[in-house]
């Protein structure tokens, strides 16, 4: 075809490059989301066609030229009932179908690999449990459920991967989660979709979906030497948290080993589960989260620790009852199937990592 006109051909090629019409389907949930989407498109098209056809037909049949005398009609209860009940029924089908999808997207499976993502003006910082940090990039393995635990350091952001059909708001001061399982390798857009100030449109990145082998190589080559839990331990030491939280009988603070996901009773009498959100709050606003039997002496760390720091501390506390220190930075995020294939000694540690994920 390019013999017609090379210039025109070039132009056409360039045009097509800039003329996307449908996003790739690259996660397990994407085809499910699209199925509902197309069902709704179909229903809408049928509804719209009915309305437009009726308007056109009536306009032709009952135009003044053809039909000079209007017939006065009050209305029709049967017709009113028809166009109340049928749309309502269809909307309810969409509601139920949508609700099932919604619960699927926002309920991470228990075996998901957790990656923390911090949004801040104007970048996404990903914190892998193996201690790999990245900015505006997110490397994930194909075929493995990934849970993203989100938080914002400043204003509202929104973590959106159109190819996966998932999106979740990153909220200041609050963890939110979303999960996906990529089904295709490749590079996909990561957008911030909540307006967040000047460079909102620059807060974009790439999600790089890799084969398990490539992912393993990437983990090895991008390690910072410490796992996220080890980063947390350093911070724990430098902030002298251990002065109180040391598990000694006369300790002024509660022991933190095994505290993660445990049921605690606070001095207010309230019973809570010590999840990520609770641990974060207990570090930043301790006076409101005093465990029963302890004095409210812990100072606040609000404004002194970045969100990444809090994440590292939480990750450390999560891993306190495991032998996380034995783990090498790599195999904390190693893929579960590979681990099983591997020799026994290394297998124990990742199992602990798996266990603490909710």
């Amino acid at each position: 075809m390019d013999h017609i006109s090379p210039v025109l051909w070039q132009f056409l090629e360039k045009w097509l490059e800039r003329f996307a019409l449908f996003p790739p389907e690259a996660s397990t949930v994407a085809p499910q989301s699209d199925a509902l989407f197309f069902f709704m498109v179909l229903v809408s098209l049928i509804g719209l066609t009915i309305v437009v056809l009726l308007i056109v037909a009536f306009s032709i049949l009952y135009s003044k030229k053809r039909h000079p005398q209007a017939v006065q009609i009050e209305g029709s209860t049967i017709l009113e009932a028809t166009w109340t009940i049928i749309p309502l029924g269809l909307f309810l089908v969409m509601f139920v179908w949508g609700a099932l999808l919604y619960f699927r997207i926002y309920t991470p499976p228990a075996n998901a690999l957790n990656i923390y993502v911090v949004g801040k003006q104007w970048m996404w910082k990903a914190e892998h449990p193996g201690g790999q940090h990245e900015i505006n990039m997110l490397h994930v393995p194909v075929g493995r459920p990934i849970q993203i635990t989100l938080i914002s350091q400043d204003v509202f952001h929104s973590f959106s991967i159109p190819a996966f059909r998932v999106k979740r708001e990153a909220i200041p001061g609050r963890y939110t989660t979303v999960w996906f399982e990529a089904t295709r390798t490749g590079t996909f857009h990561l957008f911030c979709t909540q307006y967040c100030g000047t460079n909102h449109s620059q807060m974009i990145g790439d999600v790089i979906v890799m084969t398990p082998d490539d992912y393993k190589k990437w983990l090895e080559s991008s390690t910072s030497g410490n796992s996220l839990a080890q980063d947390g331990e350093r911070l724990f030491t430098s902030l002298s948290c251990g002065a109180c939280h040391n598990a000694r009988p006369d300790a002024r603070g509660p022991s933190l080993a095994g505290v993660y996901n445990a049921r605690l009773t606070l001095s207010s009498g309230q019973a809570i589960t010590a999840d990520d959100a609770y641990l974060r709050e207990a570090i930043l606003n301790p006076s409101e989260h005093i465990t029963q039997g302890y004095a409210p002496i812990m100072p606040t760390y609000q404004g002194q620790i970045s969100e990444e720091g809090v994440i590292a501390l939480v990750e450390y506390i999560k891993n306190l009852d495991s032998d996380y220190r034995v783990q090498q930075t790599l195999n904390t995020t190693e893929l579960a199937p590979n681990i099983e294939e591997k020799a026994a000694p290394a297998a124990k540690a990742p199992a602990a990592q798996e266990g603490v994920n909710p």
């Binding site: 039909h67 209007a70 006065q72 609050r174 100030g197």
Partner: protein, 560 residues
Amino acid sequence: MSAATIVSLPDQSTARIPKMNFLTRENGLLSWLLTSDHKRIATLYLISITFFFFIGGALAGLIRLELLTPQTSLMAADTYNKVFTMHGVIMVFLFLVPSVPATIGNFFIPMMIGAKDLALPKINLLSWYLYVGAGIMMIYTMAAGGVDTGWTFTTPLSTHYLNTHVISTGLAIFVAGFSSIFTGLNFIVTIHKMRVPGMTWFRLPLFVWSNYAASILMVLGTPVLAITLVLVVLERTMHIGVFDPAYGGDPLLFQHLFWFYSHPAVYIMILPGMGVISEVVSTFSRKRVFGYTAVAFSSVAIAVFGFFVWAHHMFIMGISNYAALIFSLLTMLVAVPSAIKIFNWTFTLYKGSITFETPMLYAFGFMGLFTIGGLTGVFLGTTGTDIHLTETYFIVAHFHFVMVGGMLMAFLSGIHFWWPKWTGRMYPEKISQFAAVVTFIGFNFTFFPQFILGMLGMPRRYAAYPPEFQALNVFSTAGATILGVGYLLPILYLTWSLKYGAVAGDNPWQATGLEWQTQSPPLTENFLETPIMDHEAYDYEWLEKQNIARQQQKEVASAG
């Protein structure tokens, strides 16, 4: 069913504009600025909202120009953020909210119920002054450097992270809010207390019903917005922790409060437009509105359910999954009354005697575009698909289909429909029909590609975007140019018609509303003698009898 009616159009060749009318009653600037005549205040409103519509429209033009290329080529990101923020604020608070109620509603609600004025004429004038005050504050904001919070004012961005004129904008919206509270209050009191004898609730024109429903929303919803904006200003100036978690506030509280007003606000904007469509479709089909009570009650249902769906703006924000379910279910319920209205208007055409004057063309445009806008709203009200589509161009397209395709079409339909009554002169029909078609084509070109962009995942409020989105954005910008022409034309020919338009006569459309049973433009007192409502709304047989009686009277007079 009843017998067929023939409506004969009056002879307009001998018509003159009556010397005494509300426009000629008094002269001079002061007579306008101190007027308490609802018709003059409506005229003042019409001029002021048109002014702000064109500022908002120019800003929209800048947005579309910037988005012609993937890079930020026309303006810096900060400027772009200010442009879309001010486009949103001006269009929502200074155009869409007051558009139909404060102009057409202000002018015609008293006339439709046979009253001489609104119940509280001075409050009505005050409401216009508040509007102007808000407008001046907004112009000050723009002149002083603008604001870039987005019209949604999301905290803590608006309270602690931006150095632009958030406070003056917040106060402008606060003041504009009181303007709409006063308008709503005035309408409620007027509709309750000022109906002429015989004008029962179920004889009210549907335009009055829909404005009544919108007024309730204005009065109950707007104070929440006002309080929320005051809290934003307090947090911004005094660091009182209400919304910002860094100060001990709740990050989601702002969104709950904001959408508690701003979702009903979309019904404030669309309901009066729906009222216009009921009047227009009935008039140009020469047939009573199909299922009057269903249409009337669907307005009320929208107003009631409209208050309980706000959190559908927050499905992805980490609200409880079960809360999301309830709000999604209620959203489905609020979609039904809109569907009912669409079908009732469609069946009003059935066995009518239809003509295709400009108001009717705009009404057809409304019905098609609002159907698309409404149905795509269901995509967003469905929790599962909302996750992918929200915060993208899909939502931008959706609300522009409702607000521009729906509301603006209804506004233009209404302006053309009542122009003869308002000014005493006809607009030029052919060019207006042309403008209506241009608007429809331009609109679809502009906003339909944005649905596809949204499905592709293009986020809203992006000054720059990945190159694969360019082609669709070029379509959109090209469409906006056509749309711009569609909006400029009415300004030109309507202004022209003020002097050169054909004389309209009392009832050029042979419509049944009481407002058409008096001279055009009306007297300051609206009616020479208080009319009595002795027939149902949209009773074309009554109108025919009236015409025959008048004809006979004339014949008797000329014979005598």
